[in-house]
Symmetry: C2
Subunit: 363 residues, 2 copies
């Protein structure tokens, strides 16, 4: 144990990431918010309430780039942080800047929080072209405007050439969880329906093909997008919504395993209902990947009560980033923590969490 | 301009850092909070209020490791973020973990905020001994307990060997600024008194001597410490307190220049009153450094109205981390933005901001 070293797989988002958290971080930092292991910590110590008066008016003029009226007036504080080390920095459909904003906005949205403020920390490698930094920052600005959040704090450090890889961005998000919303990966119940907001694997394949210089028949663009507006629509359509999660590192398979484990239920998914673009499927076959484990950056899984499923699905399909939504499965009483796949040919197989590392530095 | 590249000096905390912020970040992200360029953003959109009821009780059992009763019940949200890339990871008096917690706690404290929650993002280099990570995390926990803050959210990414340097930590802090407190580097007025909480240069010299394997006659330990309890005492003693800032990267000289520029005043400092340990002075002479530019991680500069100066000084001296506090100078009407030093032999010289990079990766 004293000779153990950090492996790439510890950053995979899969089994070894979970072990690292449970073994190193939870024992040291353990507290109710962190222990829940949701995408954001929802903190009970303070309530937030929209202020009135002049400063609020000035600030909300900036904040109001998102849909009007979407900002709750009272709620709890949500906090989340994400490091971004994607390689390469630019890829079809996005770049590290858009990723850094959307990843954090989405982690807030997954607990039902309305994202308010971001903080961004940059570690730059000496020699990075200034123009690269400017492009990334412009992309962050555009994504922040789309999401309707304000980048309110930042820091920059520079390390010697060869001591980083271009740039890394850590984005932290603060949001407000409106009164009455209490979502958690531990809320799924037998009978619930599992929704997926669109086809999987786009982000991972887009990044990988750019990194390796691969050409597929049809180019694949990353799905990286802020999901907070879609989530607002979903919350409206499904007041009984149990949980949401975005299947990033580790892919859909890992996310479903996390949800099943947290809620101590089984989740059964119909293979034929999980949307995968033909181009992504072809790329995965060529590379020997299973799309279930490939990262997404603009998709979510939602678990809803059965009587709200149709309405929730229709609502998702009515949004810009949810057009391809599908009902992909359901929650069973057990075996707890198990994810099962009913295959196209009628069999059933167990879907594991991601073991090892498949695609390092995908986000 | 299109061929310009990022230099180590862009991370110095001095002139080039300021230019990078003004040229790249402010135009893109510019908003009232960021534009103030204080150590933390203080956000006017929402008020925070301590909640009552069971969840609060559970959480405050964890939070209450700091001094009892120090947590304000109502206030504005403060947000700050800091990347930590110090090299080496361990040095006399501290390590990157203690630095990551204290740096962020102190940035909150400098705007008068009571630190509440931290988020920590780790970028790990493949091959890092797990034991190193465990030591760093244990140190973060101890520092968080000392400061009375909760580490509520986290993330870990791993990059290939040779693509980072051991580990980087980005810490983001959320705090509450009590009603009635409005501190900013732009508040200094002619006649105000400048206080410094203790001797300067300890952190920079401690890190440098460990990095370079230098031995000085007397070993120098970093001053890295959480200043929030000291700040609470100071706020109590000086209700008219104008501004505080911790002289980290760029040292005391850069901090005074920032304060003079933000407030459009001059600051005059008495060389003989600026405390520097003999060991630090000796090390600086050997290395050709001016202690005024060497980083501190457990010191603050406070600007107070003249009639509160004596009381504020006495209060500082009564705290654990303020024993060596001194009155080092005063605020003059102009020339605006100018920092002047009255030397021991009776002359006056201009003290510039840090130009270029003196000690890369000092925090």
């Amino acid at each position: 144990m004293s000779k153990e070293r950090v492996l790439l797989a510890h950053g995979s988002g899969g089994k070894l990431s979970e072990e690292l958290i449970r073994r190193v971080f939870v024992p040291a930092f353990g507290n109710p918010a962190l222990n829940r292991m949701d995408d954001s910590a929802v903190l009970d110590g303070y309530r937030m309430a929209a202020s009135s008066g002049a400063p609020q008016l000035i600030e909300s003029a900036i904040l109001a780039r998102g849909p009007a009226g979407a900002r709750p007036s009272v709620g709890r504080l949500a906090l989340t942080t994400d490091c971004h080390v994607v390689k390469p920095l630019f890829f079809d459909g996005g770049d590290i800047g858009r990723l850094a904003v959307c990843g954090t906005v989405n982690d807030l949205a997954m607990v039902g929080a309305t994202p308010l403020y971001l903080a961004a920390g940059f570690v730059l490698e000496e020699g990075l072209p200034m123009e690269t930094l400017e492009r990334v920052v412009a992309s962050m600005r555009a994504a922040a405007e789309e999401a309707g959040v304000q980048i309110a704090a930042g820091d920059t450090k520079v390390v010697e050439q060869g001591k980083a890889d271009g740039l890394f961005i850590t984005t932290t998000g603060v949001g407000i969880v409106p009164e009455g919303i209490d979502l958690s990966g531990s809320n799924a119940r037998p009978g619930d329906v599992v929704l997926l907001s669109g086809p999987i694997g786009d982000h991972g394949i887009a990044v990988l093909s750019r990194r390796e210089g691969l050409e597929f028949g049809v180019p694949v663009a990353s799905d990286v997008a802020p999901l907070n507006h879609l989530v607002a629509v979903l919350l409206e359509a499904s007041p009984g919504l149990r949980a949401m999660r975005d299947p990033t590192r580790g892919g859909l398979a890992t996310t479903l395993n996390e949800l099943a484990a947290q809620s101590r239920v089984a989740i059964q998914v119909e293979e034929g209902r999980v949307p995968v673009r033909a181009s992504v499927r072809a790329a995965c076959e060529m590379l020997g990947y299973d799309p279930l484990y490939v990262a997404n950056e603009g998709k979510l899984v939602a678990i809803v009560p059965p009587d709200e499923a149709e309405r929730a699905l229709a609502a998702l399909r009515g949004t810009r980033y949810g057009e391809g939504a599908e009902m992909i499965g359901s929650v069973l009483p057990g075996p707890p923590g198990r994810v099962l796949m009913r295959t196209r040919i009628g069999g059933t197989r167990v879907v594991q969490m991601l073991m090892g590392e498949m695609l390092p530095r995908i986000c």
